[in-house]
Every structure is written in structure tokens, then in C-alpha cells.
Symmetry: C2
Subunit: 332 residues, 2 copies
């Protein structure tokens, strides 16, 4: 305390609805109605109350409101990793959409830890009107447990009975494989996570089925985690080079790890092999430019928020698919 006479202004003491009511010469119920049920009041009353309200700088106390109504105007979103460039645009779109509807958004990051994800979900479940689980790592049973507590919408996950928005790479992967076939690829390999995790599973399944479509040999290369380093290591050590093979990587980061690992061994794309990334979310471009899949996560986020706010989450098992597009690049 008692510092060097700094700008230690006392925090302004809050203006309450009662203050506004008194100043406007009405009861606090009327003041309340002016904001929540203006159609029940005479126009001039509403006007007068609102005028004095923002003249006094009234800011409703959200806690009082939440307590008395039993409702809250916050949503939550849990992502596995804010550092993965896939998520920030999604989160931001969700935040803006929520804001437009008068809701705030809690953003939580699980760090790819299923236990922490569940912990966070339980933590906020009581404080939000709805929860978005983006690419969740927790089990289906746990997702159900959360959904019982709070309206829930999934992004990139499927659990029976819970509405979901899927950001699908399938069509784009098909297009990429088709493109590869034109250029004479000799086979298809998927490089991804081993885990049963929707984004990974969907991409792998697509790669496999497209390989089958063209009767090409298919194989799966296993990564511990879908990180640059793991991919780099894989490409430098385990991965045996198959000339002309199309590598379908889990995402752009993995693709770059593979590219760099292969380059270290003297193999380059597209001469020695071809490779497709996914997400199209890197802040820089690289040489050769990476062929990838562009996914519209912003749209997915908006849909998820709308679902939450329109009550879809309560009841239906709605499923929306947002398809990504193939973005060709020099690596194919």
C-alpha cells in the first residue's frame, strides 16, 4: 500500500437497476421490464428508463441475473490445443457468433488430455448455457455424462444422440487421390495418430477407401502423436520409401515433418513421393507449396453455436457435415 501517489482511482461503485428505477421515477420491476419485456410497457416509459440507465452508466449485474433466473448467458468451448492452428479460427468464430447473440464464451484448452478435458467440462457445466466439445479426446461415455448436465454440441466427434458438426476432409481427400492418380501414383499411405479420434479416423478411412477405389496398395504409418517432431522422426527412421506413393498426412504439421524427414534422406516431393496435408492453417507458406485440404472451421463453429442457442442440443441428434476442399500444391 501507500505507493508513490499513483493513479489509484477507487473502482467505481456500481449503478444498480434500483438506482436507475429511482432516478427514472419507476419501480425496479418496471425498470427490469424495460429491458426484458419492453412490449409490456408504455413506449415512453421504456424510453425514459433506458435513457436514465445509460446516462447513469448502468451495467446489469450478470450474477444477480443468473441467480434469479437460473439461466446464464455464457457458452463454453473446449478444444484440445489452442496452439494447433486448426482451433483459433474456430474458437474465434464461435466467440463472435456467441457475442452477437448476447452470449459470452468460455474458452478452455485440454492439452489433448482426456482427463483434463472431462475435468474442465464438469467444472464449467454448471456455469454455461451450452458447451461445445471440439475434437474431444474423452470417451463417448464421458461425453454422454457431460451432455446430461448441459446442452452439448460436438464438433468432429460422433456420439449417438448428441448433435454434431463434422468438418469433413473426405471429399477433399478423394479429390486429392484422384489428382494423384492422374499423375501416376503407385500407392497410398496414411500418416497419422493411432488413436480412435474422429479427425484421425475420418481421414484415414477416406485415404484407405480411395486407395481401394483405384485398386492401389494402401498402408498406414503410425505416429505417436501428430506432431512435427514425431513425423520428422518417423520419416527419418521407420518410414521405408515407396517411389511414387501418395502420403496422406493427418495435418499440415505432420506433412511438414514428413517432408523434412524425407528430405534429410534425399527424397523430395513430388519427384520421389507425393504428399497431402490437411487443415490449411499454417501462418506461413513453404516451398514446395504443400497440397492440402482447406476446412471451414468458422462455419462449423457458427453452426455449433446456433445449435446451442436454438435448443437443438436438448433433444435432437442432428448431424451437420461441413465438407472441406482440396487445395492443390506442388507436393502433388
Amino acid at each position: 500500500m501507500g505507493g508513490s501517489g499513483g493513479a489509484r482511482a477507487p473502482r467505481a461503485t456500481a449503478v444498480t437497476l434500483a438506482d436507475v428505477a429511482k432516478a427514472a421515477g419507476v419501480s425496479s420491476s418496471t425498470a427490469s421490464r424495460a429491458f426484458n419485456y419492453p412490449h409490456l410497457l408504455r413506449e415512453d416509459t421504456v424510453g425514459r428508463v433506458k435513457a436514465t440507465a445509460d446516462q447513469l452508466g448502468f451495467r446489469p449485474n450478470r450474477h444477480a441475473k443468473a441467480l434469479s433466473t437460473g439461466r446464464t448467458s455464457a457458452l463454453g468451448v473446449i478444444v484440445p490445443d489452442l496452439s494447433n492452428p486448426f482451433f483459433p479460427p474456430l474458437v474465434h468464430a464461435a466467440q463472435v457468433t456467441a457475442e452477437d447473440r448476447g452470449y459470452s464464451l468460455y474458452i478452455l484448452s485440454s492439452e489433448h488430455n482426456a482427463a483434463r478435458e472431462l475435468y474442465l467440462a464438469n467444472l464449467v457445466s454448471r456455469d454455461v448455457a451450452g458447451l461445445i466439445l471440439a475434437s474431444p479426446r474423452m470417451s463417448q461415455a464421458h461425453v454422454r455424462q457431460i451432455a446430461e448436465q448441459v446442452p452439448t454440441v460436438l464438433i468432429n466427434a460422433q456420439v449417438k444422440g448428441i448433435p454434431t458438426v463434422l468438418v469433413s476432409a473426405a471429399q477433399a481427400i478423394a479429390a486429392a487421390v484422384a489428382d494423384g492418380v492422374q499423375r501416376g501414383i503407385s500407392g497410398v499411405a496414411y500418416v497419422g495418430n493411432e488413436e480412435r479420434w474422429w479427425p484421425n479416423t475420418e481421414r484415414e478411412t477416406s485415404a484407405r477407401s480411395e486407395a481401394a477405389t483405384y485398386s492401389l496398395p494402401y498402408r498406414r504409418l503410425r505416429l505417436g502423436e501428430p506432431t512435427y517432431d514425431d513425423a520428422l522422426t518417423l520419416a527419418r527412421t521407420t518410414l521405408d520409401h515407396q517411389p511414387g506413393e501418395l502420403l496422406v498426412a493427418f495435418d499440415d504439421i505432420v506433412a511438414h515433418g514428413v517432408l523434412d524427414g524425407m528430405r534429410a534422406r534425399g527424397y523430395n516431393a513430388p519427384e520421389d513421393f507425393r504428399i497431402l496435408g490437411c487443415d490449411d492453417a499454417l501462418p506461413i507458406s513453404t516451398a514446395p507449396t504443400l497440397a492440402t485440404v482447406h476446412l471451414d472451421t468458422r462455419t462449423a463453429a457458427r453452426i455449433a453455436v446456433h445449435h446451442l442457442l436454438s435448443g437443438v442440443a436438448t433433444d435432437s441428434a442432428e448431424r451437420v457435415v461441413v465438407s472441406g476442399t482440396y487445395r492443390p500444391g506442388e507436393t502433388i
Copy 2:
């Protein structure tokens, strides 16, 4: 309504403190004290209350608590851009630190928009116990206006009377320039934003003063925004090549834009010019590996949260500097 018999469990109706109190055979004030002032109660009373509490699945209502105490256990952080890899680690560290202290963290993104930043700050100021403004874009006057409403800590900004944590690149830039001098650089140029924005200003000032130290020619190259595309365009068009010059880029993204733009013109690092990035936050590595500055944003975030929770923000003009380190790479 009335969908296909899905798992439409009714949201569990909340267990209140009063319920716990009744079940434990105590008054609700005692139950309250068991959680907030256990030292005022007999050990067995505390035990009994807590036991019945989690047996009943009691979860405190944060709105009721906030309303009655007038305090809230949430903090807020506003960043200019969640998509910039600089911020997610910072935000995450802040979130975990806050969580450990029993606080939740609101994360807000201003999208580099000063007006939106101010809007968001005002929006949450009433609902948080403290606010972190990371690399704020708003004016000093506006920062002060916010700080009058809510305890505020700045990261990478300086406003008199408001505590701040600076993540400084100065020492690291000095080391990089020194390294460049060893290798015979012919001059120094800073490539950054024009705006008065602390991270930019600090880096530019360091570059300039280090150039002066070695009596090297210095120039500043102006970017509209510190983005990959703007840097690419600059390097492809405006930037006139000075052999052996060391380019100090605002961040890694700008550095890559410059590298790629220069490459398009046939100039490569480190042969034709040298370049230093900043932040060391890209999820992939590149060839040639970029020399950069590693900044410990996690530590900065932790300090900021501690300041907020220990009341530093109320009064002092504390200033902490977290210095980054030079991470050599093939571009120097």
C-alpha cells in the same frame, strides 16, 4: 420435441448448500464456513459437512457466491490474435496458473482491433477480478480507463502507473547482431509494423541501437501489417537488396514472408543477406532453419496472473522484464 427416444436425461436439479446443511444437521452458515473458513469450525464438523457435500454432489453456485460477496473468481485476458502462435502458449499458461489458484480465465480476442479491444475490456471489466491486456492495441488513455475499473496487468505494453510484464527481445537481438558482426554483416535493417506498439517498437529500437553500437548503417522497412503476405510483397517489390545486410524481422512469420519474397528474386539467406525472426513459435521448422529469438511467454503469463491475484495491480507500478534468448539458425 418428442424425438426418437434419445438420451434426453433431465438436467440434474442442483444441490444447494442448504441441502447439504440440512443433511449434515447444521445450519447453512456452518456449511458455508466448512468451505470458506474451516479453521473456525471443529474438525469433525468440517469433515461431516464436506463428506455429505460430495456425497450429495454439491457444486457451489458461483453466481450466488459472486453476488453475495461482491467478488468474482474469474480473470480475463485479452489478446490481439489467438491465431498468432505467440499467444496460445501465453494464454494457456495463464489459464493453468489461474486454475491452480481457483480462478477461471476468460479469453478474449480483439483481432488487432483497438476499438473491439476496448469494447471487450469494458464488457468483462465488471465480471472479472482482474484483467490481463496482452500486447494491447488501444491507446494509453484507454488502458488507464480500463485500469480504473478493474485491476489490470499489462503484458508487452507500458503505461505509467500500471504494472507490466515485458517480454523483451532486446538482449537476444543484441546477441544476434553480435553474431552477425562476427560473420561480417554490412548493415542492419528492421522489418516491421509502422505502428507504435510495444513489441514492434522494442524490437526496432534494439535493432537500431545495436547497429549504432557497431557503427553499421541502419534502415527501417515498413510493413502495413506484420503478416506473411505483407512481408512477402515487400520483399518481392519494395525492398532493395543490400548484400550482407542483417534483416531483423518483427517475428518469424514476417521473416518467412521476407525469405520467400527474396527467394523469388533469387536472393537467399545466409549467402545474400541474413535474417533474424522472433517468437520461436512456429509449429514447423523450415529450411534453412530460421535464426530467431525465443521468448518465454509462459513465464510472463504466470507472473501476470500472480500480480493480479496478489493485488500488485491495485497500486504499484511494478515492472518485470522477461528476457528472451537468441536461438541461432542457418539464416545468420
